[in-house]
């Protein structure tokens, strides 16, 4: 299950990961923190995506992960739009027969998603907005 949504449903993600031969499910949920690197007071965030390309990149990462690990089921869901502190913005999940593969593949997918999937985060502070990572 790979998709872009406005709101994450953890139960839906968990259900999509169930498989009779899976002994372990690793889920990663990224949430909005109230402080970004070196700054405090994030009040909200906006996520914008280049949607068709983001989905293609997510599918490509999933394919790479499936070659590296014996994954039974896989979930990559990212939200777009406005989020408040504490809200989930991304959920990644893998189910495998053995738990180490679930942890390793789940971590790979979130690490790579953050590097290559064309989604952008704008942080709102009291007095300014910042597109995260844009400037050195």
């Amino acid at each position: 299950m790979i998709k872009l949504v406005t709101t994450i449903d953890i139960n839906e993600a968990y259900s999509a990961l169930q498989h009779p031969e899976a002994g372990g499910i690793s889920l990663f949920i990224g949430t909005v923190r109230n402080h970004a690197s070196g700054k405090s007071g994030v009040t909200q965030l906006d996520f914008e995506g280049y949607e068709p390309m983001a989905l293609k990149e997510m599918e490509a990462l999933a394919e790479t992960a499936r070659v590296k690990w014996p994954i039974k089921k896989l979930v990559m869901i990212h939200t777009l739009g406005t989020k408040k502190v504490g809200e989930p913005v991304v959920i990644i999940g893998t189910s495998t027969a053995h738990r180490k593969d679930a942890f390793d593949s789940c971590k790979f997918l979130i690490d790579e998603l953050k590097k290559s999937v064309p989604i952008w985060k704008k942080e709102y502070f009291d007095d300014q907005t910042v597109w995260v990572n844009s400037h050195p």
Binding site: G30, Y50, K114, V117, I119, W120, K121, N133, S134, P136
Partner: protein, 79 residues
Amino acid sequence: MEIKLFGITKDIVGRDMLPVPANIQVHTVTELKEWLYQQYPGLEKLSALAVAVNQTYAEDGTALDSTKEVALIPPVSGG
């Protein structure tokens, strides 16, 4: 040819779709970026700027033409 803009590139250019004038010759990703940096110096201050052609990351030498979907990809920050 039109260039799709996202995130901070949209703010720098002031719109989400930038037409490249017909008299401007940009045949490759490198040529497109050179032209953009002249027009919008703010783009050169970004920590990185990639170009996607047909929704795939392109190399500097990738050929461009008006039949292709071209987009600027500033540093991503999803997740």
